[in-house]
């Protein structure tokens, strides 16, 4: 077995996952549009490739299973098995089964477990009825490697037969061959062409001069017709051309990718391997004689294939070339290498920032700055993938959940080509699944309820993604029952999250569903179930430096909006100085900077244009040494619509920040999301505004509760 090469197996597993994804996507697509030939072909190809590559690794279980799927899909492709929802409902679990097995292989478990074997048998048993509908001859089913589709439908062929001059002398009797030809099917028409007969005085009665033109209707493939004339092939001119070219043209159009024209024609059944060889020989002769001719021209000139069929094959070949070239537009790169590159670009940005500080005047420098910026952008773009692939996975989720719950939901996906960091895509998938399930489970009502409320029985779920000011926004919207503001508020008061009688905006109320207190099971039904695990979702989103919010109109639906940064690697930061330390505040959180009013020095809040602005003294919070600067500034940051000031000693301006993770030792640190290296080599911590504010609020609460002055002890250890 070829298991010595782990890398190859890794590639196989990656490929298998992708194939399964496209297989699943294709099946769902097919359910919506059962006659989509392209999709049928794509699915067939996926199954075929899966079988082929698993064979390379000796994964016999997978080979056998995929083979049955492939055979069945082959029938679907040939039109002998119809695409029905039942068929899809069985093929989907089959794809799941393969998926599980592949994951098993990824973990090093080559042999299927007993459970898997049982599952596979059960699935195969469910597939069997579909297969028998196809009524394929046994040998076709047993010889799947033969890719030539040989549908058992009578087809008409035009034969032009000019036998070699010596065939009679060699004991070959064309009449006998023609009689045998008749046994393959029906000779609809045949004429004897004696135009080559010389004058009687020149004629050798033992030389063959006759030619025949026949029209044969047969179920036999071309290769079989051709084999009738095997013995006389050598010096005869045998041309077998399909009468109904449309069938071949259609077949060529729906064929898997092939590089060579000959392969296309041969696989379509319009041309046999022997004919291709002959045409190639003629082509070589012609080339030697000085003129290069395309093989297609030879085939037409020699009457081997009709022009229309050759043209179709040429078009197919072109399409292959097209898809091949679009294939090569994406290459698979080891993520580690990419990270290394981005790391280096990051260093470059840092180094450049250092230069920039010393010499702002040089024009060359500004050029370099611009170039580095471009390099940074394109390096980051390497990590970008369209979110569509992830969103399309939800077709399956929606389908399955709907079947389970007996609901009808139509999923619309828009903005799938919006791109975001691959790492983000992977990590947002789970929270999104949660939201989608939630919408299906609790947002969208049952068909009966919907009808009662005057809504269409079929619910609408919409996934939308778009770019917005340096971040990507993903929306999950439904037209379900929406959130019940009053009940959420009541619950919140009940749980002590909100003081009774508090006046809250809709936004603030809906935000409460993300509070951990709402995650208990008993609230599921009373709160439209929106509370289930929403705190986890928000935590996940926040971990990606994103935020989440809900819009809802009672009875009309809800929209959950996740906003994420495009990448995790670099942010635009705002550099501030506190004492002798530097900190970065993510620029998108900064709303404004104001001078710290001297008369508010003793308070924890200030007056900002008539509003009360609480502030946090970073100097104190982090327990930094040294005295406060004489003139301090306040950086106003916003979190969930709430503004807070950060008191700092100096504002140093915008700074492109390459995020360096802090390392496991500081993983518990809540208010700092990372670090970066400044142009002068100093390290600056990146402040995580969300937790910073909530933590500080908690500390304040504790402080008031105990009425003790917390001093500096809370500083860096807790925060």
């Amino acid at each position: 077995m070829a298991f010595d090469d782990d890398e190859a197996l890794d590639t196989f597993i990656t490929e298998a996952r992708e194939l399964l994804e496209s297989l699943e996507g294709g099946l769902l697509q097919l359910e919506a549009d059962p006659d989509d030939v392209e999709t049928i072909n794509a699915i067939f190809r996926s199954a075929h490739t899966l079988k082929g590559s698993s064979g390379l690794f000796g994964l016999d279980h997978l080979v056998g299973f995929a083979h049955v799927m492939e055979t069945l899909l082959g029938h679907v492709r040939e039109g002998t098995v119809r695409v029905t929802p039942e068929l899809i409902s069985i093929l989907l679990p089959c794809a799941d089964h393969i998926h599980r097995y592949v994951e098993g292989v990824a973990e090093g478990r080559i042999e299927p477990s007993a459970a898997e074997v049982a599952e596979s048998e059960a699935l195969l048993a469910r597939l069997a009825p579909f297969d028998s509908v196809a009524e394929v001859p046994a040998e076709t089913a047993a010889a799947p490697s033969d890719e030539t589709p040989e549908a058992a439908v009578p087809r008409a062929w035009n034969l032009r037969l000019r036998f070699g001059p010596d065939c009679l002398r060699n004991g070959m009797d064309p009449l006998a061959l023609l009689r045998y030809l008749g046994s393959l099917g029906t000779i609809e028409r045949i004429t004897v062409d004696d135009s080559a007969l010389p004058g009687a005085s020149d004629m050798d009665p033992e030389t063959s001069y006759l030619a025949f033109e026949a029209e044969l209707s047969t179920e036999a493939p071309k290769s079989e017709i051709e084999s009738v004339f095997d013995f006389v092939r050598e010096d005869s001119d045998i041309r077998i051309v399909p009468r109904d070219q449309d069938e071949f043209i259609g077949r060529i159009a729906s064929m898997p990718d092939r590089d060579r024209l000959g392969d296309v024609l041969q696989e379509s059944g319009a041309v046999t391997p022997g004919e291709i060889d002959e045409a190639l020989r003629i082509q070589r002769e012609r080339t030697r004689a000085g003129g290069t001719v395309p093989i297609g021209q030879v085939l037409i000139e020699q009457g081997i294939a009709p022009p229309a069929v050759v043209e179709a094959a040429l078009r197919r070949q072109l399409r292959t070339a097209d898809s091949r070239s679009s294939d090569t537009q994406t290459i698979r790169i080891d993520a580690g290498r990419l990270d290394r590159l981005i790391d280096l670009v990051g260093e470059l940005v840092i180094a450049q920032a250092g230069v920039g500080v010393h010499d702002r005047l040089s024009e060359a420098q500004s050029q370099v700055t611009r170039l580095i910026d471009e390099v940074r952008h394109s390096a980051l773009a390497l990590r970008m993938v369209p979110i569509g692939l992830t969103l399309r996975r939800f077709e399956r989720v929606v389908r399955d959940v709907c079947v389970d719950l007996g609901k009808e939901v139509h999923l619309t996906i828009t903005g799938g080509d919006a791109e975001m960091d691959k790492a983000l895509v992977e990590r947002i998938s789970d929270p999104l699944t949660h939201l989608v399930r939630n919408s299906l489970d609790h947002g969208i009502e049952s068909p009966d309820d919907r009808r009662r409320m005057g809504k269409p029985a079929r619910g609408q779920l919409r996934l939308n993604a778009y770019h917005d000011a340096g971040s990507i926004v993903i929306e999950v919207s439904d037209d379900g029952r929406g959130l019940d503001r009053d009940r959420i508020l009541a619950k919140a008061v009940d749980r002590g999250l909100v003081p009774a009688g508090a006046m809250l905006t809709d936004h603030e109320v809906f935000d409460l569903v993300f509070e951990p207190g709402f995650s208990t099971a008993e609230t599921v039904s009373s709160l439209s179930g929106r509370g289930v695990g929403m705190d986890v979702v928000r935590r996940n989103v926040a971990a990606l430096r994103g935020n989440i919010e809900v819009d809802s109109v009672r009875g009309q639906g809800a929209t959950i909006r996740i906003r994420l940064p495009l990448t995790l690697a670099i942010i635009d930061g705002f550099l501030v100085e506190v004492g002798s330390s530097s900190f970065i505040v993510p620029l998108d959180r900064v709303t404004e900077c104001v001078e710290f009013p001297a008369d508010d020095r003793d308070h924890d809040h200030m007056n900002l244009r008539g509003e009360v602005l609480p502030f946090i003294r970073l100097h104190q919070l982090f327990g930094l040494d040294g005295e406060d600067a004489r003139r301090q500034s306040v950086v106003v940051v916003e979190q969930s619509g709430q503004r807070t000031g950060l008191v700092v000693d100096a504002l140093l301006g915008e700074f492109q920040t390459v995020i360096k993770p802090l390392g496991p030792l500081f993983s518990e640190l809540k208010c700092v999301s990372g670090s970066t290296i400044l142009g002068n080599g100093d390290v600056a911590l990146i402040l995580d505004v969300g937790p910073l504010i909530t933590e500080y609020a908690d500390l304040e609460r504790t402080r008031y509760a105990t009425s003790g002055y917390p001093g500096r002890r809370m500083a860096a250890t807790r925060c």
Binding site: L175, R189, D194, P205, S208
Partner: protein, 97 residues
């Protein structure tokens, strides 16, 4: 027009084995403006060489202003002709057979 009619009877095999012998014999029966009646009742076997021979004879006869008529085709001859959809007078049988 002087319409000469002659008769030739073919017997036994009319195949590649006998073509070299039969061909000159048939040609000898042809003449300007003459119609040759070729009796095929005694032919026990016919192959492509035989068919070609009959066609060549007819063409030559017509070239000379006459014709060759075939009659009394034996079963063996009919069977051979049927393969290429010709009737017992070696005319296209027309339609599917």
């Amino acid at each position: 027009m002087n319409h000469d009619t002659r008769a030739v009877e073919l017997r036994d095999e009319l195949t590649i084995q006998t073509a070299a012998v039969e061909f000159p014999r048939l040609l000898a029966a042809l003449d300007k403006n003459a119609t040759v009646r070729v009796g095929l009742a005694g032919v026990t076997e016919m192959d492509t060489a035989g068919l070609q021979l009959l066609l060549a004879v007819r063409r030559e006869a017509r070239r000379l202003g006459g014709d060759a008529e075939f009659h009394d085709a034996s079963d063996a001859v009919r069977a051979a002709l049927a393969i290429v959809h010709l009737d017992d007078k070696l005319r296209p049988a027309g339609g599917a057979g």
